[in-house]
Amino acid sequence: MVVIDALAIILMLAGAAFMLAGSIGILRFPDVYCRAHAATKVDTLGIMLFILGLAVFEGFNLVSVKMLLVAAFVALTSPVAAHALSRRAMLHGVKPWTRKQKKEG
């Protein structure tokens, strides 16, 4: 039991760390596209690790299977959400931030 608890705690801490990194990324990155990068990838892995940790803690039963379903749906939907956001931004003419532009200007 101690091993399983330790594994669950490690997974949840890693998930929380990734969520924190994703939130910092949303604040630090310069434009909407880079922020979508941070929000999609880092947060997806964060949520998946967190849910996996909860499922390990719970053991194998109906509740943990439902949690794994939630993880799968998050992995499916978050790239779609990021694509929808960034595509709308592109169609409305939001220019991507570039490093070259900064040097020239």
């Binding site: 990734f18 990194a21 990324g25 990838k41 892995l45 299977v65 694509h83 220019k95 991507p96 931030w97």
Partner: protein
Amino acid sequence: MAQISSGDRSPPGFLVQHRGIIIQSVLLLALWLVLSGRFYPEPILYGIISVAFVVWLNLGVRHIPLSSGEYLSGHQIYFSRLLLYIPWLLWQIAKSAAFVAYLTLHPRMPINPMVVTFDSRLPNPIAKVILGNSISLTPGTLTLDIHKDQFTVHAIVDEVEEDLVSGDMESRVGRLYLSQCTPQEMCDGVCILKRSKEIKKAMEHQEEGKP
């Protein structure tokens, strides 16, 4: 739209012909059982009735054309290859999250964003959706738009763009539907836009293409 011949296949039997419906019913019934959590005959009977109704409603969907005039029907996915593709995608998610987290926490934030456009020769709309989702989940790239065969992708640093234009992922997705394909033939018309003027021009071009 460039079609690549999908190789010789034996005439489909009953199981192969209705494979989509069978897989759909099994998955839906499994979802019903997991969500209800009661394994008595009565809830299972209700589940079977609901699954049959949903599958019946979905029968016609494959024969309705998309806005681009393409159809969803007539393509068979290699199920065994899909099962191999999913673990690879999970590994890519882990790698990309670690990569973007590293970029975020790096004190000088070494990013150099650019927009890459390329033409893909994937055979059908679902393959394009899979590729678009996979691009968004792999390190440092984000699908901005898919218009006909042209993908517009935002890449966050220089190195990831080489992986993207090598066509490795396209051939992986292509192999889900085609018996064989190589990275070289899947991806062409690559255009890398680093300057803001070029990106703006490409965007105006995209807007003209819209109805």
